[in-house]
Structures are given as C-alpha cells and as structure tokens.
C-alpha cells in the first residue's frame, strides 16, 4: 500500500518533530531553572517581591511541577511574605498557601532531602496561624468576620499540627479551648448587638449555639460548654419576652410567644443540669437553673436552686460540696428526677 520511500519520509518527519519538541522543552526547562536560580538569589537577599512573580510564573513548568525543591522554595517565600506584610491581616491567605506548598513538597520528597526544611516551615506556620487566630479573636471590637478569620487560621493551625504528628488528644484539647473562646466572643458580639439595636441577631446566635455544640461533640462532658449552651437558650427566651415582645401584643401572639419560649427554656434545661451535675458547686449554673425553673413556673424547683445559690454565696466556712449534698437531701423531688 505504502511505498518504501514514503515510509522513510514519514519516519524522518516524525523524528524531526519529536527532536524539536524535546529540544524546545529542554530550552524551556533550562530557562525555568535559570529563573528559579534568579528567584533563589532574590530570596537570599530577602527581595521577596522580586522572587514572587518568578516563582508563581514557573509553577506549571514541567521542570517544577514535580520538584520538591521548587515547592519548598515557594512555601518558604509565602511564609516570609506573610511574616513581613500580612501579620495584621486576619484574612490573609499567604499562610494557607505556604502550607499547601510545603505539603506538596513533602509529598514529592521521595528521598526525604527536604523533610527537615518542610517540617520546620510547617512548624512556623503552626505558630503563626495560632497567633493569627488569637489576634483576630481578641481584637478590640471583634466582628463576625474576625471570628471567621480566626476560625480559618485555627483550622490551619490544626492542619499544621497534624503534619508533625501531634497526638489527637492534644489537638482535641486545643480545639475545645479555641471553641470555648470563640463562643465567648460570639456572646460578646451578640450582647453588644442586642444592646445597640435591641433585636436578636439570628446568625450570631446560631454561631453561639453551633460553637458550643461543636465543643460537646469533642468533649460531651465539658461543663463550660453545657453551661454556655444552656445560657444561650435561656437568654434567647428571656430576650424574646423582655425585649422583643411588646406590651400590646394580642392574646394569640402572646400564646405563641409563650409556647416558643417554653420550648427554649426546656432546651436550656438539660445543658444547665449537666453543667450542675458535672460541677456541683458551679454557682452560675445553679443560678441559671433557678431562672429556668422560675420561667417555667416550677416555683418549688426554682426556690430549691435559689436557696442553694444563696447558701453557697453566703458560705465562708463550710465545704461547698457538703452544702450541696445537705441541700439535696432536703428535697424529695430532686432525688425523684435525678
């Protein structure tokens, strides 16, 4: 079908094409390597702004896409840029980029030649992201956005800590501490908002409850989370009745509001009960229980906790736990229900 001459021509053309492609690639790679060396020199002189467009520009070159050295350099660059320019910017993505580049370098580092450098970089990212989370959270007039940034930075901190095999129990402890702090800040934002506008802010309130529920997923026996979650439900119901409900609401609306608030009070109850059981001498939980039972019109139970709260507050000499135990034995209903 094909003449011998045609086949030879075909093979020659194919050879020429492949040779020219390989040659072009090698030129490109040589140029890219040259650029990498240039970027490295800039970085040695801390001229990161000059190094950045070069390293970003060669990311897709075949010579770099699978080079652990290149990704290590890029991780280092973004980490240093963050330290220099972005520590006040809670929304900065430089740290997460740096983390991703270090992580990529680690996956490509078959012989472990960059292991120490990558681990060192990731450890620094852990410290920086933790600082960023804390700074956002404790900022004066912290907003919902700052909380969002804190959360993102804290997640990065956890990811970084996992890379160098921090025990999971230790991370859980840190996540619990962070979420408790975050919940408290959401509470402050919610209080400030309601003081200013006298209205309920659904999104902040949802953030409060979901944050504390998040703590209980990690540590179901966390007394603070139980107390704070119970308080959130209780305070929400109190806010509806005391601030949102007008004196002139009609009878049907009044009935609906009562139903809604009774449900919220009942939602609060198990959490505050748990907080009290977990820490029997926790006065705020005891006071909260007195308030919930009062609002639920269960006056005997409310008085039980009110008296216990008073006894603990007045006490200067007796062992608090003994006061709680003695008080408990005086009330039959407590033993029936618990």
């Amino acid at each position: 079908m094909y003449s011998k001459g045609n086949v030879i021509w075909f093979l020659l053309i194919a050879l020429l094409l492949s040779t020219s492609t390989i040659w072009a690639q090698s030129v490109q790679n040589r140029e890219a390597r040259g650029l990498e060396i240039k970027a490295r020199n800039y970085m040695a002189n801390k001229e990161y702004d000059l190094a950045r467009p070069i390293l970003d520009g060669i990311a897709t070159d075949t010579a770099h896409v699978n080079s652990c050295e290149y990704w290590y350099l890029r991780g280092f660059l973004y980490k240093e840029l963050y330290k220099r320019d972005e520590t006040n910017n809670g929304a900065s993505d430089f740290l997460s980029k740096a983390f991703d580049y270090y992580e990529k370098s680690m996956t490509l580092d078959a012989d472990g030649s960059h292991k120490d450098g990558n681990i060192k970089g990731i450890k620094t990212i852990a410290v920086l992201s933790n600082n960023a989370a804390v700074t956002s959270l404790y900022k004066e007039n912290c907003t919902e956005n700052d909380c969002k940034n804190a959360l993102a930075n804290f997640d990065l901190y956890i990811k970084a800590m996992r890379v160098y095999e921090t025990p999971e129990a230790e991370l859980t402890k840190k996540r619990v501490e962070f979420k408790l702090a975050l919940g408290a800040i959401y509470n402050q934002i919610y209080d400030a908002h309601t003081k200013k506008h006298s209205e309920h802010n659904v999104s902040i309130w949802d953030n409060i409850t979901s944050t504390y529920k998040g703590v209980l997923v990690l540590d179901s026996k966390n007394s603070s989370a139980n107390y704070c979650l119970g308080s959130a439900y209780y305070n929400r119901a109190v806010h509806i009745i005391m601030h949102e409900m007008g004196y002139d609401v009609d009878m049907i609306t009044l009935s609906d509001i009562q139903d809604k608030c009774i449900n919220l009070f009942k939602e609060a109850l198990p959490y505050l009960n748990k907080a009290h059981v977990q820490d029997a001498i926790n006065p705020p939980a005891i006071e909260g229980l007195a308030g919930i039972y009062f609002s639920l019109n269960e006056i005997d139970k409310s008085n039980y906790y009110k008296e216990l709260f008073g006894k603990l507050n007045d006490n200067t000499t007796e062992e608090p736990l003994k006061i709680v135990e003695d008080h408990r034995t005086q009330q039959d209903w407590y033993n029936w229900e618990n």
Partner: protein, 180 residues
C-alpha cells in the same frame, strides 16, 4: 512588645483562661407575661358607661414585680398618639384605695386581702384579677392566673364578671378556662 502581647494572649488562650463566658440574665419573665395579659384585658373587656371616660386605672395590691412591668406598659401606651385612654398604674398598700380602680391585680403574696377587696369594690365595676389557685372559683375573683404545662393561662368566672357589670369579649372567653 507586640509579639510579647500576642505571646501572652496565646498563652492565656492555650491555658484555657477564656474570655468571660455567657451569663444567664436573671429576669422575671412571668411578670412581663402577666402584665401583657392585664393590658389585653383592658382591650377585651367592656366597662359600663360611667367608667369609660378619663384615665384607665389599674391597681396592684401589695408588692409585685408586675407593678413595674405594668408601669412600663402604661408608659409605652401613653406615649402613643393613637392611645384611646391613658393608663394609670397605682400601687395600693391596702384595700382602702382600690375604689377608683377599673382593674385590681392581687398578687399571690397579697391573696389574703382578696375578701376585703371584693367587699370594698362592690358597686365600683372593678375587675379583680388574682394569682393563686382556686381564687376565681371560690374566692370571688373575676379572673385568676394559673399555670398549665408551664404556661401562664387564666381562669374566668363569668358570674363574678357579670356581678361587676363587665362584658367580656367572645375571644377572651374562648381563650379562658371557665370556672363557674
């Protein structure tokens, strides 16, 4: 200095000394709910001709947190340009000053004065509202607050209301627990 501050904050954060957690806001929600009920009674009950002019007086016999809630409701009502009648909330230490009241609220703690209040209000078209079990059925009150499934509701004694020449709307009657 800034790094030190961050380090200190971080240390604080890691050691679990979190910002002040939520605190329960102790408030008497029942007092507000009862005040809203009392305010509604002024709208759903009709007083006889001679009692429809001037300020509408609500008396509270003895001490009760409902008084300050009613005072708030009066303040809100009276500042409305559309207010049909001004509300006047009066604190009564004893039954001698209840005659001018259109409505008298007797809190649980003052229930022992109910009999005297009923006698004293005779012929004055005063709606007597109490807050203790059995007082609408047997004690002479027109309306009595009760609690059912954690919810504040009210009992209505229609014959007592009729004795006071007051007319209760159908809506209020339908929502009430009738006791006579």
């Amino acid at each position: 200095m800034r790094i030190l501050l961050i380090a200190l904050i971080a240390l604080n954060f890691i050691s679990g000394k979190n910002p002040t957690p939520a605190q329960t806001q102790m408030r008497d929600t029942n007092a507000k709910i009862k005040a809203v009920f009392l305010y509604n009674f002024t709208k759903y009950i009709e007083w006889p001709e001679g009692k429809r002019e001037g300020n509408f007086v609500i008396g509270v016999l003895g001490q009760s947190p409902v008084f300050s809630e009613l005072a708030n409701s009066a303040h809100k009502n009276n500042e409305k340009p559309s207010a049909v009648r001004y509300l006047d909330i009066k604190s009564c230490n004893d039954v001698n000053s209840i005659a001018e009241c259109h409505m008298l609220y007797i809190p649980n703690g003052s229930s022992e004065m109910l009999k005297m209040a009923v006698d004293k209000s005779e012929g004055h078209n005063t709606l007597i509202v109490t807050d203790k079990a059995g007082l609408a059925k047997l004690g002479g009150a027109d309306i009595n607050f009760v609690v059912s499934n954690n919810k504040v509701k009210f009992e209505l004694n229609k014959s007592n209301v009729q004795k006071h020449e007051l007319k209760v709307s159908n809506l209020l009657t339908n929502l009430a627990i009738l006791v006579n």
